[in-house]
Amino acid sequence: MEQTSLMTEKIRDFFSSRFADAVISEDNFRDQQSFYVKPEAIFDICQTLLNDAELDLKYLSDITSLDWLGDEEAEKGRFEVVYNLYSLTHHNRLFLKVRLQEDNPRIRTVSDLWAGANCMEREVWDLMGIDFEGHPDMTKVLTADELDGHPLRKDFPLTWEQPKFTWNKDDPPEVIK
């Protein structure tokens, strides 16, 4: 526990000394350290962290995304991408969060830093519709080929069966047209 709080301080120092301009805010909900950073800085931060032997946050655990449509958070940007980094030596986690605007959400890929980011980013694109610039293969991965739209967006209806085998009688909702 002490080691974790020590690492928390060190990560804070790292951001204030090297990426003071890029950090928007810090959040420590339930002892989980997360930083909201500017989208254009994400690649540099990840690259620096990957080469930082002291912090050793080299294991990319996960990339995920959120949709804040209809929530007060949406002012800061509708979409949120969360990078989940883990340190195999210090056993602490760092969350890097990025807010993206509603129309044409796009961000620089990190798949050239971690090969594992490839499939995670592809899934984010498929389910949330966030474009990763420079990704080698930004195509559908989970949803059916006929499906238009991105299911995890809040305006995508849960039960609307879009492709072929459907008994839907109503008109399709706005987002699909």
């Binding site: 299911p151 849960l158 069966e161």
Partner: protein, 167 residues
């Protein structure tokens, strides 16, 4: 009196229906094809503890062209649905379909954009086995129900469907 007295012992008279149904029933080869959770219960059914071989069904056929029973074990997604339909069409006649579990029968707990709400929307189903997932005993019971159903079938009714080979 009758024809039986005039013929040797080794000949048994029966109807074509009975004969064909008996053959169909006793040599049923399921398609070795699992989709989701129910596939694991299906494997349990084939495994020693429950042992489906007691009913003459231990051979799972990986190729649809050699199978005559399709056990749809699990949820059918929109992406998988065309594949399931193709597999069904590749199976030679006569063929039967058993829908195993709530998801295959009606969509189960997943009433959403990704799941076909019942495999009967794409292929005809003979027996539905409820449960999430059904116990192996339930699956065996479903298969026995299918046997009963096969016993009542008539070759004549199926002739059109099977082509002209039998008639």
């Amino acid at each position: 009196m009758g024809l039986e007295e005039k013929i040797p012992d080794s000949i048994i008279l029966t109807t074509v229906d009975k004969m064909a149904n008996w053959a169909h029933k006793r040599s049923m080869w399921p398609l070795g094809f699992g989709l989701a959770c129910c596939a694991i219960e299906m494997m349990s059914t084939f495994a020693p503890h429950f042992d489906l071989a007691r009913f003459g069904m231990e051979v799972m056929r990986p190729s649809p062209r050699q199978a005559d029973l399709m056990i749809v074990a699990g949820r059918v997604s929109m992406k998988m649905a065309p594949v399931v339909k193709t597999l069904y069409e590749q199976m030679p006649n006569p063929k039967w379909v058993l829908s195993m579990g709530a998801c295959a029968s009606c969509g189960g707990v997943f009433n959403n954009y990704a799941i076909v709400q019942g495999v009967d929307r794409i292929i005809p189903v003979d027996v539905y086995v409820p449960g999430c997932p059904p116990r192996p005993e339930q699956l065996i019971d479903g298969i026995l129900k299918l046997y009963e159903q096969i016993e009542k079938e008539s070759v004549k009714d199926k002739r059109e469907e099977w082509g002209r080979r039998i008639g």
